[in-house]
């Protein structure tokens, strides 16, 4: 009898659980972090916490390796097979929004009021995506290097000017202690080029495309300021200050900590390696080439797919994921800059006085998003090729003119990309 009663209770409990499960609307979610164990643990925890926290929605997660993610999303969009929730690289978002792969994110602006500017993805005046973190680059060096070369330490309020930066490179080169004075990291290709180097162009006063209309690159990518940038860029390699496009990826990854470069242009994701090697590691702000010091902004962000029938559910999940504890968990886990100051305070490295806190300040003060345009995905490739060609000795003006032609032709082919 007892057994029968136990079985009946068990059946009733199962039925209740099942009915609760059936009551929940399923939401599918794709994420780019497959292969990163730490990232996978955190995102799975967020999904599990969300599913347990309410009874309206149940999120199922499918992870993709980052290198295959964008192509998978585009293919799924063509086949009408997109999930409800997507994550998207910040500069790619306008393209996906324009193409209809994403829809506006119905999230109260008050929720993200304190978020770093680079974590908010706006297109056409509407919020489409929001990031749990940002990334930033800095000029990495050592205090002992500055002391040996008798250089002042630049600050956010008083960064080096372009002349001071080149004087620092001259001093490092003349000292003869390093293989190269400066490592911009040309062994890294792809998005690294526009992310890391277009801020130099913007600091000179140029840009990849004219942001007032997004209809042409003429005048901004081949104007006087851009040519000055191009000539400076080329001088880094012809002058022997920096390794060029043939740089060994291993040298890029380890050259600074092996003492081969005096200064390295690198991101917060590589900061721990430097800190663990040299206890006098410094992360300096970008130099100011005349129009203010700039660094790239915007990393991976969450949004709602264009075909989702449940944008409210997707937004509910995204809002849930924006809690400081998750922002801090991602930061501690994979070293990225948490999106809010309150989350930064909860982290090991970005809290006030933390070894990498400077990156939060850099992101806040110098971060500039890449051109917010669907055409950016093409413009980024054109910009990368132009910079590589110039580094390899191509004529600066001709190369930039050709890049402008290519970008303008692409914009025209796509009817102005909806701007």
């Amino acid at each position: 009898m007892k057994l029968k009663r136990l079985a009946a209770c068990s059946l009733a409990a199962q039925s209740l659980a099942l009915s609760a499960a059936f009551a929940q609307t399923p939401l599918s979610m794709w994420y780019h972090g497959a292969g990163n164990e730490v990232e996978s643990v955190i995102i799975n925890q967020i999904v599990a916490d969300f599913n347990a926290s309410q009874s309206d929605w149940v999120v199922s997660l499918e992870s993709f390796p980052q290198g295959a993610y964008n192509d998978s999303v585009v293919a799924a969009a063509l086949a009408g097979n997109l999930p409800d929730i997507l994550d998207v690289d910040g500069p790619v978002m306008p393209n996906w929004a324009w193409a209809g792969y994403m829809q506006p994110l119905p999230l109260d602006e008050a929720v993200i009021a304190d978020f770093l500017p680079g974590t908010k993805g706006y297109w056409d005046g509407q919020l489409y995506s929001i990031g749990l973190w940002d990334a930033a680059v800095a000029l990495v060096t050592r205090q002992s290097t500055l002391d040996a070369l008798d250089l002042r330490t630049p600050t956010l309020d008083e960064p080096w000017s372009g002349e001071e930066f080149m004087a620092a490179l001259d001093a490092a080169k003349a000292a003869g202690e390093w293989e190269y004075a400066f490592d911009p990291g040309l062994a890294w290709t792809g998005e690294w080029f526009p992310y890391a180097f277009s801020p130099f162009l913007q600091s000179f006063g140029g840009d990849i495309v004219d942001r007032s209309s997004y209809q042409s690159a003429d005048g901004v990518l081949n104007g006087d300021e851009a040519i000055a940038f191009g000539e400076w860029w080329q001088s880094l390699f012809t002058g022997g200050y920096a390794p060029g496009t043939s740089q060994d990826p291993a040298a890029r990854d380890n050259g600074f900590v092996e003492g081969r470069y005096a200064f390295s242009w690198n991101g917060n994701w590589a900061a721990l390696n430097a800190l663990n090697t040299f206890d006098d590691t410094l992360f300096l702000p970008a130099p100011d080439f005349g129009h203010g010091p700039k660094i790239g902004a915007a990393s991976w962000q969450f949004g709602v797919s264009g075909t989702s029938q449940h944008p409210d559910g997707a937004a509910a999940f995204i809002e849930f994921a924006l809690q400081d504890e998750y922002l801090a968990a991602f930061s501690d886990g994979i070293g990225l800059i948490p999106a809010t100051a309150s989350a930064a305070e909860m982290t090991e490295h970005y809290a006030e006085g933390g070894a990498m806190a400077v990156f939060f300040d850099l992101s806040e003060a110098q971060g500039l998003v890449r051109p917010v345009s669907p055409g950016y995905v093409v413009q980024a490739l054109v910009f990368e090729k132009a910079l590589a060609d110039i580094a390899n000795g191509a004529d600066v003006a001709d190369t930039l003119d050709a890049a402008v032609d290519e970008i303008d032709a692409d914009i025209a082919r796509n009817g102005g990309y909806g701007h």
Binding site: G35, E62, P65, G67, D71, A76, A79, W269
Partner: protein, 292 residues
């Protein structure tokens, strides 16, 4: 005519072997580098690339990269998926393409040469040009399963197998091989009253070992190395093959030791398959250069 002295002959033999060993080393070096690198920690691996140490099991040797590779990705699942998809595709491809080749060589039907020309013409069409139309097609195709009729083949094994069963190169291989078989055998079988299928199955196929091995190896390599197609038609990890799985190892800071460990593991099925069919493959290649 100068006679070949024993000394001369020995010298030529030595030179020939030296050249062959050199060529063999060139082909073997990448594999040796891969296996040796898979045993070394990242820092040592990168440092060793500057010297011959890259090809030697020296320094801090361990299986740590293999253990970490298994933690990073479900390697067993990926290998199972690839072997299943590849194995089934190869078997079905051999069956369908050999029958097609048989029909083109031995059966008389209107439009035969035209059809063969059209099929062979598809050899010059790169897959990339038809990938998107094919994706749109398979995303809408019906399928009858246990749960009735459903639409769309995405996220399945069948979408990785069925579009690849018939291919022009394999049909071409069979056509060329069948043309070289003695016609008298076919005619004798016909006189004895055998059906076309009996001739195909009992006469032609038993004589087709070399071409079957060649076609199987070539198809195996194509299928096992598939990347673009599974990337766009499979969004679920449970159906992912090994080549897409390789992307799991390319994070911001690439752990090259784990990459090499993964590559070593996924190369094993290919090596095993090739070694199993090596004799027939070489016989087939050799026979293509011999006029009957």
């Amino acid at each position: 005519m100068a006679s070949i002295s024993p000394d001369n002959h020995g010298l030529r033999l030595a030179v020939r072997y030296a050249v062959l060993i050199l060529i063999a080393l060139i082909f073997v070096f990448p594999l040796v580098f891969m296996v040796m690198s898979s045993l070394k920690p990242a820092q040592q691996l990168l440092a060793d690339t500057a010297s011959l140490r890259a090809f030697l099991p020296v320094g801090d040797i361990s299986l740590d990269n293999y253990a970490r590779a298994f933690q990073r990705a479900p390697i067993g699942l990926f290998v199972f998926n690839s072997v299943l998809v590849t194995g089934l595709t190869v078997l079905l491809c051999l069956a369908v393409c050999s029958m097609a080749g048989f029909a083109f060589v031995y059966l008389n039907w209107r439009g035969r040469d035209l059809f063969l020309s059209i099929i062979l013409a598809t050899l010059i069409v790169p897959f990339e040009t038809i990938a998107i139309p094919l994706l749109l097609l398979v995303s809408k195709l019906p399928w009858i399963g246990w749960e009735g009729v459903s639409y769309g083949w995405l996220n399945s094994y069948r979408v990785q197998i069925i579009p690849w069963i018939a291919d022009a190169l394999t049909i071409f291989l069979f056509v060329q091989y069948f043309k070289g078989l003695p016609r008298e055998l076919i005619e004798a079988a016909r006189v004895e009253g055998a059906t076309w299928f009996q001739i195909y199955w009992r006469v032609v196929m038993p004589l087709s070992g070399p071409v079957l091995a060649t076609a199987a190896i070539l198809k195996f390599l194509v299928m096992y190395n598939q990347y673009l197609w599974p990337l766009i038609v499979v969004q679920q990890e449970k159906y992912r093959p090994v080549m897409v799985g390789l992307q799991y190892f390319f994070q911001l800071n690439i752990a090259w030791g784990e990459v090499m460990a993964y590559l070593t593991m996924i190369t094993l099925p290919v090596l095993a398959f090739y070694l199993a069919l090596q004799r027939a493959f070489i016989a087939s290649i050799a026979s293509t250069g011999v006029k009957g």
